[in-house]
């Protein structure tokens, strides 16, 4: 990252360039998904007929032909792709093969629960990580060791093991939270924790390491010699610097959380993109899968813009001019 402030025109050009490349990334992601699915062995008409009838077999040629015609699968691939691409540019993500609804509608209803789940998990993970780090880092070998061990332990937890244990503990044995809470606030707590606990371990490890480095910096020593209290040093100086790599990690984590969300969704009977994605891949619902990739990629890009922003906000060196 350069510290020099670009001229306004250059900055505008840079933003335009970034936007353009973002759109390109989206189109490429959707196109790759589209083609990969078409090139997989097996054909879509068979899958559609099997889904409709709860079967797992081959179908007579005339039945396949009828479906191919109905959905336009008998057109050349390139035509189907251009058709899809033209739709994308109009904001039309296509129509689900199995639900007959526009993909935007299929995804639309599921997006919010997933965003709540993943963003919630990210926030909670940060809270846990920052708290544990602040309380234990450089507090002597025992406390520091406990903190590090806690992070190593939580970072190693498989999502669904956490989900299952939380469910049994706090929904079955001690029924504080609902077992199948859907997307209600009370039903969101355990799914969020399911994703947040392992993530907090990762964040904590990064935070702790940075904290160590920062606390060795001369300006910390200066602050201390000026008589600043330990708490103040940690909160006002060290934390601000130590969170930077964690912020970068958060951008990456959002992508991973989407993958993890399907596990939380399936354990707690929660709606969301993850489950739709699994079903759509199984059903060879090409436009739905491509649509989800598009949306997730868009969220990812936005998240990374936010990460950049957060970076400049937190790191004073990047804000100088």
């Amino acid at each position: 990252m350069s510290t020099a402030a670009p001229a306004p025109a250059a900055r505008l050009r840079r933003i335009a360039g970034k936007l353009l490349s973002a759109v390109l990334v989206l189109l490429v992601a959707a196109s790759i998904t589209f083609f990969v699915q078409l090139l997989l062995p097996g054909d879509r008409a068979t899958v559609i007929l099997n889904i409709r009838n709860g079967r797992d077999q081959q179908w007579p040629a005339e039945e396949i032909a009828a479906i191919n015609h109905q959905f336009g699968f008998d057109r050349p691939l390139i035509v189907q792709y251009l058709d899809y691409l033209a739709g994308l540019l109009r904001g039309d993500l296509g129509t689900s093969y199995t639900e007959f609804r526009p993909v935007t509608a299929v995804i639309g209803a599921q997006l919010l629960p997933t965003v709540v789940l993943t963003v919630g998990a990210l926030v909670v993970a940060w809270l846990i990580a920052v708290t544990v780090t602040l309380l234990t880092v450089r507090r002597g070998r025992i406390l520091g060791g406990i903190g590090a061990a806690f992070e190593a332990f939580t970072a190693s937890l498989p999502h669904y093991w956490v989900g299952m244990l939380l469910l049994v503990a706090f929904a079955v044995q001690i029924p504080i939270f609902p077992v199948i809470g859907g997307d209600t606030p009370a039903g969101t707590v355990l799914p969020v924790l399911t994703l947040a606990v392992p993530l907090s371990g990762f964040l904590g490890q990064v935070l702790r390491e940075e904290f160590h480095k920062v606390l060795d910096q001369p300006f910390i020593t200066t602050a201390r010699t000026r008589g600043m209290s330990d708490a103040a040093v940690r909160l006002r100086h060290a934390l601000r610097h130590a969170v930077l790599p964690g912020i970068t990690l958060s951008g990456w984590a959002l992508g991973a959380l989407v993958s993890g969300s399907v596990i939380a969704e399936s354990i707690y009977g929660r709606p969301g993109i993850g489950q739709v994605l699994v079903t759509a891949v199984n059903n060879r619902d090409v436009p739905t899968v491509a649509g989800i990739v598009l949306v997730v990629a868009a969220v990812y890009i936005v998240a990374n813009v936010l990460v950049d922003l957060a970076y400049t906000l937190v790191d004073p060196r990047l804000r100088i001019s």
Binding site: R55, D56, W59, A66, I67, V281, N283
Partner: protein
Amino acid sequence: MTRPRPFRRAGVAGLGLALAGSVLAACAGGPSAGSGTRIEGGTLTYAHVQEPPCIFGGWIQQAYISRQVLDNLVTLDTDGSIKPWLATSWEVSPDGLTYTFTLKEGVKFTDGTPLDAEAVAFNFDQWMTTQLNGTAKVSLDPYYRAAEVIDPTHVAIRLNAPYPQFLTLITQGYFGIQSPTALRTRSQAENCEKPIGSGAFVVEEWRKGQEVVFKKNPNYTSWPATAKHEGPAYIDELRWKFVPDPLSRYASLTTGQSDVVYEIPTVHWKDAQEKFETTIRYITPGKPISFYINTAAGVFTDKLVRQAFAHGADRKGAVEAGFHGVIPYEGNPAMSRSTPDYNADLADAYPFDQAKANALLDQAGWTGPRTPEGIRTKDGRPLTVRIIYGAGSFITAEGATVLQALQEQWKQVGFGVELIPLTRAELNSGRFSDPTTYDAWPSYWTSPSPAILWIVWRPTTPEKPNGNNRSFYNNPELARIIDEANTSTDPERASQLYRQAQQIISDNAAGIGLYTQNTLVAAANRVKDFWLEHSQGEPVFSDVYLVQ
């Protein structure tokens, strides 16, 4: 609006004992159940497993759910007899080729369209000519000819040949009648999400990935003769939730968050029976979970090897242990014990006998030097068996355990069994339709009629392939016997032929029995008069009332 209804079971006499026969039910009847005071209306939460893409269609998951909104022409009673529903009576022509139904008068779909002969005929056309419901189609092919409107309350279904199983088959949820206005004028998406029927409930909202919310149809007039009460549903709302995780699903019942739960894991069945007054074990009729044995390619082209395979492992013992004694073993590979004309002689076909299995394999020439793993060989080729199975929804975790137990025993007689679970995507792709891709495939097919034999075992011909004949077993004699049974107007004769067909399948080990497909449900104690209909165990909520 909701008039208080007499707390008396109306309806057909003898229905008090509703769930008999194949159904082992501990139903809350009478005061002994300690039932509390009755509540008017209320909301019932039902936890189901799989969420279909549309409410109506040819998948059993769709039959379960569409029954809540659609009515059929006729319904199946527990004794196997056909009872009136939308049709108050019907008449079969002497040649057995025409079924004339008299429809209940004044029935309307929830969009106001009259449910008349034209509507019924339109639905038959839809099933047989569009590709939206292949299960309805495969059930009536090739006997169905046409539906004909006689007058608004009379519709005639004409057949190509007598087909006495016709009435039994159309009791399944795949034959629910939808509003022709809705089908004609609304988009496919609308008909997928909110089909319009004349049933006890209407789809209010489908929150995908979570639940379908049904509201009661206050103008319901067309309950089946098997209903436990006359009139609209007692409950105001039915929340049909999708909870794929078995642990969560059962826990939702024990913690009081759901009222009725489908597919109780067998490990919790005893607990459920202790805790809840209503637990129902319904043995699904049709083809049980039995092995299709690939007779077209691989080691099982030799009948002796198939028979050795059947004798080689203790299928009965493994099923009883693997399912904690809850789900019964089924030795008849062709039909489960709850299907009419079931051949009970086959219930213990091919008992566990490894000496016999070894003798058969020796006879078949699998006497080459064994591989280091102890697998038999013949001409240098190992006796390897690939068993593929749909993991999760078709073969549950318990079923997979049973297969693993069998795998060990088969090894003792020299079979090298490979277990290959198939994911949903692989099943959907249909790519395991080729005889080179597997040797055995445990799977089931629900049907209330012995005509299931025709669906599954009809030979594949070049002009009419049968994708359901997973054993690739083309036996013209078997086909002739089943066809004759299907079209025989003499029930005695038909029954005898169906039994004979099962015998042929078993004797040739074209299939090998394993266990029955079951529906295990439990209901919270505040739920009364919950039942499963008899054709394939579709849950019925239109008679349910709640107590405090």
